[in-house]
Amino acid sequence: MTTATTGTTTAKGSVGTAHTRVEGRDKVTGAARYAGEIPFAELAYGWLALSTVARGRIRSMDTAPVLGMPGVLTVLHHQNAPRVDSDYVGMLGVPPDPTAAVFQHDRVPHVGWPVALVVAETSEQAREAAEALVVHYEEEPHDVAFSGEHPDAYPLDAHMPAVTEKGELEPELAASAVVIDAEYTTPEEHHNPMEPHAATALWDGGRLEVVDSNQGTMWVADELAKLLSLDPASVRVRSEHVGGGFGSKGVRAHQVAAVMAATVLQRPVRVVMTRRQMFALAGYRSPTTQRIRLGADTDGRLRALDHRSLSLTSTVHEFIEPSAGVGRVMYDADAHHTANRLVRLDVPTPTWMRAPGEAPGSFALEAALDELAEKCGIDPIELRVRNEPERGPVSGLPFSSRELLTCFREGARRFGWADRDPRPGLRREGRWLLGTGTAAASFPAGAMPSTAAMTAEADGTFTVRINASDIGTGARTALTLIAADALQVAPDRVQVRIGDSDFGPAMIAGGSMGTRSWAWAVTAAADELRQRLALSAGLPPEGITVRSDTSEAIGALAQKERHSFGAQFAEVAVDPAIGEVRVRRMLGIFAAGRIVNPLTARNQFVGGMTWGISMALHEEAVRDQATGGHYGADLAGYHVATHADVPLIEADWVDDPDPDDPVGIKGIGEIGIVGAAAAIANAVWHATGVRHRSLPIRPDRVLAAGGEAVTGAPDA
């Protein structure tokens, strides 16, 4: 195996060579319009009013004074809003989060629950009126306290079973020469895409039009039609440019509220979330408490693996962060137990956030592996080599491909791992202690049925219409390259149009499956179009259009363990006297299928790894126990890594084309963050000799954990 720069499977053509984003110029010049800034005639502005109590009922609402305020057009609330039907299962196979089904009853299940929409002629008038709206509540005692010992926790199956059990855990642990038993915690984390959620709804000739920022227009259109009992054909959702989503941009309160207001007022209505509102309304990653027990022989071979994860959800909707799933793929053991449990609290509903399950799960498991390596006196990479499974540890299925060790070998070579002294707390540079760490990464590789239309235009160009979603990833560009190669033409002859529910069903941008799913449909359409063109004497003025549908091909895929893999490396500096931790360099080597566009792929990996720095050192949403709401719910209070926190990050990949994908793609959207926080935490241990099992590793925690103990002197 070799790295991509000298890869063997890179076909001659557009795929595999670096291309800047096709819409890049529009984005950097401001020509690209985002959902909240597209002009409409007669546009009215809605502002959501959110509950300030964590549990209770709305007793009354003083709407009269608000209706008299300048510019106010209406106030929608549970007593006058259109009714919706939320008793259905959506496109993604789950019922809707009732948080989106706004204004249907007087119950308040968490702080930040939408209680009203104030609509006015201007955004400022709507905001002032919404903030002036007095709501009287019957408050009830709330419970927002998340801890590892909540008595009401229960297992929940989701896209994976809650519990897997193989072998007898306790006897294997008892027979193990080395045992690790530790609890790891990760905090509540928020997506915080740069672009806030924004939607404009209007009725146009009997059709509902929604101009939105989302990760799947068909997903949103389908749910809006079901919620509002509309004919699916009468709902059109468009989402041309999206400033980040990370799992948060599905069906949310603002779209439904905008549609309600547009229906009531019969004019276009826009609703945009503020950054603060996003903390309550856009979903988030649940905090987790994870207990891991590992039992191993002295040579590091695992006899027992027990990973139990607890996450939280709201009282109105079940969503589980399946952190314990990661071990079902990564490591085998004679006794192998994993369990994902859930507790319901008076908080908003969490949702998918970049690498759901794997991101927090890999922190705990890969940190525990590092502790095991230390205890066994084995190099952390060698420990993983010794525990590399032949087949899926739980499923018993073969891997479609698993190049994890190739990633480690290549990463170790480039990072200089061989020179590493494993002993902690030895390397000093001025006030800094230095250390290095590593961790493994994995994320499922999948594809979902999609449709595409491809037109050979009379002028010799090609137009692709596919309901893909480019949430900043470069998907539009990737699909352009894929279409160009499939058609054997230059990319500048291909125009890819995306983000329009009228283009028909397609996978959302999610699960690291978007580009692969769409590419499959585009490739299939191109194959058919080429056949049609070969048979046709000439092009009619309207061109020739074909449609593809990959449902059958994807349904025929054999059951296998299909995943991307990676190896993360980090070097950190810790000042034990003041608690500062700084990442000095990172390297990620990934085996993640064929890479379509090295430029944007590197962006994706580096972006994920950067988020790993944030996850390890910065991000933490703090819930105020007294009020049940957030403390510091803005980007001043909720820290993400700044440029100054992001050092030299290198991301590269090894050759790993998916044998069952027409293009060889696996998917790269999420794996960049997986294992990154563990590599950093492991490096912090290597620097200081102190294990940090709770994220983020803030200065106060470094000081409290006795970082000083290493140096003995406060000024060291």
Partner: protein
């Protein structure tokens, strides 16, 4: 947000007249804090008096060799001024440690001193806060307070002052000058901020309707060797969890003169006079520095989640004074 009046002033007397005429008027400098707070409803002024066109944007040497900094000098201009860099390097370092380049281009010296705490309870109008709504309570004491005050706080408020610049100015004995309808006045920065007590909503000793016109730094040879160090939870664009401005004059191994102030530990930039007393005339070594820090921090009253600040500040004092000692003997 609430509708408000806006007037731009072109001379100091005009600005003072506007402020005098309307007790609900607020001064708009760079707007980097006030406008944010207006958007979130924390500040609801009836009128803004924009002072950015006032002729207060100069930095001048005073007759006695000090420095007079106009109130509308931007942070960026202050940080790069050659006399500031030469005479008061910690002031330049403090300014550059704060905010971002864009914010520093807008923010003004006068506004910096009057900026409000970044306590998350103060900033959220749905929560109680004695500073915002007197008598409503201080949820930080029982709630989130890992970055709250350890010195000079009260049971009514444990918020910290967020300024970096103010810490250096406090260390260097800055004097705030102002103008009112009744004439000019001045306040040493160490007396500019009121004690918290049971009136955390009353923040400064400025008379009603006063306009800050500038800050004067007295000459002090000691400040030439000075340093500002800021500890924060990320490398940039975060408020301090502890900071220090220090100037040190060491001769023959003995501390001849010292200036020391702490940031992010109190409702105001904290002049560490107890530490200065221990240091002055004492041997310039780690033991003295630690004893000085302990003398200052003896008054600390940490809450359950901010006790680390005592260790942090102690270590910062020792680290920064050690560095300055090494520099002065080089």
């Amino acid at each position: 947000m609430k509708e408000f009046g806006y007037q731009r002033a072109f001379d100091v007397s005009g600005a003072v007249a506007l402020l005098d005429a309307d007790p609900d008027a607020r001064v708009l400098g760079g707007g980097t804090n006030l406008v944010d707070l207006m958007k979130t409803g924390v500040e609801r002024p009836a009128r803004l008096v924009d002072v950015r066109e006032l002729p207060l944007d100069k930095i001048e040497l005073t007759d006695d060799g000090g420095l007079r900094i106009g109130a509308t000098v931007t942070n960026s201009d202050l940080a790069v001024h050659p006399e500031v860099r030469r005479r008061y390097p910690a002031l330049t370092q403090a300014v550059l440690a704060g905010a971002s380049g864009q914010l520093r281009n807008m923010a003004t010296v006068g506004g910096n001193l009057l900026q409000r705490t970044r306590c998350g309870y103060f900033a959220d109008v749905t929560k109680p806060c004695n500073k915002r709504v007197p008598g409503s309570g201080c949820p930080a004491i029982e709630g989130e307070h890992h970055n709250h005050a350890i010195l000079g706080a009260s049971e009514h408020c444990v918020a910290t002052h967020p300024s970096d610049m103010g810490v250096a100015l406090t260390a260097f004995d800055a004097v705030v000058t102002y103008e009112t309808a009744d004439g000019p006045g001045e306040l040493p920065l160490t007396e500019f901020y009121l004690p918290v007590g049971d009136t955390p909503h009353l923040e400064t000793a400025l008379p009603p309707g006063a306009l800050i016109t500038g800050v004067t730094l007295p000459p002090a040879p000691v400040t030439v060797l000075s340093r500002y160090r800021k500890v924060r939870e990320r490398a940039s664009y975060a408020f301090a969890i502890g900071s220090i401005a220090a100037a040190l004059d060491v001769r023959d191994g003995v501390v001849r003169d010292v200036r020391l102030a702490f940031g992010a530990v109190a409702s105001r930039p904290w002049r560490a006079r107890a530490a200065e007393r221990v240091l002055t005339g004492a041997p310039a070594d780690a033991a003295t520095f630690a004893a000085a820090a302990d003398a200052e921090l003896a008054a600390a009253e940490p809450l359950p989640h901010n006790a680390y600040k005592v260790t942090l500040m102690r270590n910062l004092v020792v680290a920064v004074l050690t560095e300055l000692t090494e520099e002065s003997t080089r």
